[in-house]
Symmetry: C2
Subunit: 179 residues, 2 copies
């Protein structure tokens, strides 16, 4: 992976794996299918990844990291966070779907993935909680619970959006802010 060709191939493999995971879940992401989509042969795959699992876990880790809104200043509002999430799901539906698939089915299988998802979730709740405290200091004592509910609702919405392409995530998220 020190030559340019290798680096390009690696990223083509990850793109292919991400797309297959998104479209058909773990069972669709076979080495053969990944290679076919990436336009390579198995030998190249195993020159860059020591196993199929390593490639899939790389995609998963990247997807989890990508769900986090880009680091804003300490002045980020609740609306900022919600909008960032909506924008992410709408502009990167493939990655968002991979995240959801793994959060459920992959998280069950692999303990390290489960830990990673939970850690990520906790960090997200904390950011929402801080933003909620700034927004409504009167309700500061229940900021954590409210943040947890908000994140749960957003996750539920994202799951729904994954199944129903007609679902208007932005609209529902906006209504969420008025509750």
């Amino acid at each position: 992976m020190t030559y340019r060709a290798g680096i390009a191939t690696r990223s083509r493999i990850l793109d292919a794996a991400r797309g297959l995971l998104s479209e058909g879940g773990l069972e669709a992401a076979t080495v053969k299918a990944i290679c076919a989509r990436a336009g390579i042969l198995p030998g190249s795959f195993y020159n860059l990844f020591k196993s199929k699992e390593e490639a899939v876990l790389t995609v998963v880790r990247d997807a989890i990291a990508a769900v986090e809104p880009v680091a804003a200043g300490p002045e980020e509002t609740v609306a900022d966070l919600v909008n960032a999430f909506v924008r992410f799901v709408n502009t990167e539906p493939v990655i968002a779907r991979v995240y959801l698939i793994i959060a459920v089915s992959g998280g069950v299988t692999d303990p390290s993935i489960r830990r990673r998802v939970l850690r990520h979730h906790q960090a997200r709740v904390e950011r929402f909680s801080n933003a909620l405290t700034c927004l409504q200091p009167r309700l500061a004592h229940r900021a954590d619970e409210r943040a947890e509910a908000l994140v749960a609702a957003l996750t539920g919405y994202a799951l729904h959006a994954t199944l129903d392409s007609d679902f208007d995530l932005a609209k529902h998220a906006e209504e969420l802010l008025q509750l």
Copy 2:
């Protein structure tokens, strides 16, 4: 499947498949594993199900149907519906987990499952919406949106409970009722 033995074997197969789906997702539910857990051999499996897919889809359909709270009278309250869902997830975690796994990964693969999940979701939102209208007639014009948010939050909570055994679903659901 007209003899008692066949009926009993069929239900042992479905139990085995349900457990495997819950513990390890679709990839763990192989015909061999199902047969081993059910204490039978492949020949018996294919005497009762024409394919592995048929058995898995049967489990999935049952799981989707089971998520629906038992039919209450027309006087069901929001608290009733929420509590019924919480009780279901806590007493039937295996079925609840199967539902979530399929709602994400299976729903993506199989269009008929996706339709079924969406139809079920819509019916659930309607029940919540009616209950919300009775509870707060002043907010009747936004009952649908609020019901959608409630169901999304509950789904998000259930997903989290699947990953984190320490998560107190009942407590969070109760707090949800006070928002």
